[in-house]
């Protein structure tokens, strides 16, 4: 790639991290930040131990526990469930042995790895960021190239601070215009996945652009990039701008003072050049996007809340028809049923997709002065200890508790069914998380993905609801 050719944001961040290019085009790609959690790291540290290797850059690495910690117990005491406790203790032993910086569960800065990276200023524009978790795509909202890796690659990064990679293709997703009232970043990204499909971004890095993306605050941008992986793209990116810089200024691990201004000068140069070429371009109009809700068992099975459950008989493609039938059976839904008439048992507000203070505020605005519908369990799980404290300082916890929501400690919680927060078979949940796969929130659990405001609307009405009728 020559320097004179117009380049995309992805091209620029990629080019800036190529240590060496091998004859077949594979690159040794330098990694600036490596985020580590308890679930996908034990075997990687064990590999280092067996090979007698050290962590090359502890000062580019941060560890935290999030996936399997309970969210409703006294955190000064050990976890009672053996396997989870062993995994946490293993991480604690590994960070001690290898000198890796770590936020333990008792630290206010502990939280979901994809929440605390941006919150602490550990994730920065122009960085390459990896983590053994597919939702690492989140950090791309800052203008970083951030993607999930497997445990073998975690070990590779710990040992070498690099990865062997080939460049991805460039996809531009432009969302023009302005969003209607009650429509959020979550609805944008669900609508995008509905358009391009769960494999639509495979092999690509998506750059999100356009007026509607530009107008989002940082929390909204993080939500959009978070779900890039649900469209098959390993990474999503948004060019850093004044919103990004204002968000990062003063964050503990960001450059401080004059250094910050130097950094901003560099970060401004990262935006895609005029005339940069994309392999694929998709354009959506924000005004066409209504609040979204998934009805099936993958994120592309999504519709506006004003819609009805699809009828497989209308599907001409045989494989697709069978798939819809299977989804409806699993989800316990009837073709033609209005989405707003689907009752829910559980509401989950949290996860790396939607657990930031802005998400808490959006949900609280709907919950305020209302009550959780009888028979519905509703959880609010802030993304970090600091978000929890901020929400409490704003009185949001009181609003939630008075409405009948449970107010929990930070963690991945009901997003993935590997800690005590999970659905029981047949339970139906309106969830602000990112995956509605069969069994994702617990075996037999049924997930409808929605925005925080839509989740709160479901909690107070007892069924999937159009939040625009409540605000």
């Amino acid at each position: 790639m020559t320097a004179t050719k117009p380049r995309t944001l992805f091209d620029k961040v990629w080019d800036a991290h190529v240590v060496e290019q091998l004859p077949d085009g594979t690159c040794v790609l330098y990694i600036d930040r490596h985020l580590v959690h308890e679930v996908t790291s034990p075997q990687a540290f064990e590999g280092l131990r067996l090979a007698g290797r050290r962590v090359r850059r502890p000062d580019g690495t941060i560890a935290v526990v999030d996936h399997n910690i309970p969210t409703n117990i006294d955190r000064s005491k050990p976890i009672t469930e053996d396997e989870s406790r062993i995994q946490v203790e293993t991480l604690e032993q590994n960070v001690r042995d290898f000198g890796v910086p770590y936020f333990p569960v008792t630290d206010a800065r502990q939280g979901i790895v994809h929440v605390i990276g941006p919150e602490q200023g550990i994730s920065l524009p122009g960085f390459t960021i990896v983590c053994g978790d597919s939702h690492t795509s989140t950090h791309g909202a800052l203008g970083a190239l951030a993607f999930g890796i497997g445990t073998s690659e975690v070990e590779h990064v710990l040992a070498t601070q690099t990865l062997l990679q080939k460049p991805a293709k460039n996809m531009l997703v432009r969302v023009d215009g302005t969003l209607g009232a009650g429509v959020t970043a979550k609805d944008i990204v669900l609508a995008i996945i509905g358009r391009i499909g769960t494999a639509g971004g495979t092999g690509h890095v998506i750059e999100f652009a356009g007026e509607a993306i530009r107008s989002l605050d940082m929390a909204g941008r993080l939500t959009v990039c978070n779900m890039s992986i649900e469209a098959g793209a390993r990474a999503g990116m948004i060019a850093p701008d004044d919103v990004t810089f204002a968000y990062l200024r003063g964050r503990p691990f960001a450059p401080q003072g004059e250094a910050f201004d130097h950094a901003v000068a560099y970060w401004r140069s990262l935006a895609s050049d005029a005339g940069a070429q994309y392999d694929t371009t998709v354009v959506l109009n924000a005004a066409d996007i209504a609040p979204q809700v998934t009805w099936g068992t993958n994120p592309e099975a999504v519709l506006p809340i004003t819609g009805v459950v699809p009828n497989p008989a209308d599907e001409t493609d045989e494989a697709r028809r069978v798939q819809i039938e299977r989804m409806l059976t699993y989800m316990g839904l009837t073709p033609g049923q209005k989405l707003t008439e689907i009752p829910v048992d559980v509401v989950f507000i949290g996860s790396c997709t939607n657990s930031r203070i802005e998400d808490m505020r959006a949900a609280a605005a709907v919950a305020k002065g209302r009550k959780v519908a009888p028979g519905v369990q509703a959880l609010v799980v802030p993304g970090s200890g600091l978000i929890k404290a901020q929400a409490e300082a704003e009185g949001l916890d009181v609003i939630f508790r008075e409405a009948g929501f449970e107010w929990r400690d930070a963690g991945c919680s009901m997003c993935l069914g590997m800690n005590p927060d999970k659905l029981t078979p047949g339970q139906r949940c309106a969830s602000t998380s990112n995956r509605n796969f069969e069994g994702r929130q617990g075996p037999g659990g049924r997930t409808h993905l929605v925005s925080p405001a839509m989740a709160a609307a479901a909690a107070v009405t007892g069924h999937l609801a159009d939040v625009r009728e409540l605000v």
Binding site: V19, E20, D24, V28, Y30, T40, Q43, E46, A51, R56, D59, G60, I62, H67, N68, E83, Q87, P101, Y102, F103, L124, G132, S134, T136, F147, I149, G150, T151, S152, E153, H156, A159, T160, Q161, T162, L164, K166, A199, T202, G203, G232, F253, A254, P255, A259, F260, A263, Y266, A319, Q323, L416, G417, P425, R435, F437, E438, G439, R440, P443, G444
Partner: protein
Amino acid sequence: MQAFTKLTGIAAPLPIANVDTDKIIPARFLKTIKRTGLGVHLFDTLRYDEQGAERPDFVLNQEPYRRAEILIAHENFGCGSSREHAPWALLDFGIRCVIAPDFADIFHNNCFKNGILPVRLPREICDQLIEDAKLGANARVTVDLERQVVVRPNGEEISFSIDPFRRELMLGGLDDIGQTLQHAPAIDGFEAREKTEKPWMPAITAV
């Protein structure tokens, strides 16, 4: 990592699209700190009922597919979570090769790190191989990485393409950390250059 050169074995048909890694290995089994022992939970929800009894209609609960070494599926295999427990579970069960029209990126990568060969073939050919696989033990499929061909039970050869660098690592069973560490001087040089060119770059210290 065990090298992959040529494999002849029983192929299990799994004609499902979008097989996600939660389906391959649900999150509740990710609490292990080892790589081994996950095979018993491979496709747990599809394989066992609520009481833990085998579902007789699931392919891997049937003979001869309990001994399958090859899996043939539909589009977007391995989507979702980055969990390497998915290829570990496949490997622990005995699967060394997955054939599908396409794979999700992270899963695709993870396979190569564990000596599992992901082979991309067009949907029509996968469907043909699925029909072959349904014939069971008398219809063994061969996957030859050296010659880059899949051989159907009737002897027909279907060629597939694969990244040459990854092919070489697979054929040799090579540890790619060792490969990368040969570039250590270049990595040192890169870090030194960054320090000069981006003096503002912070480090994670004094947590």
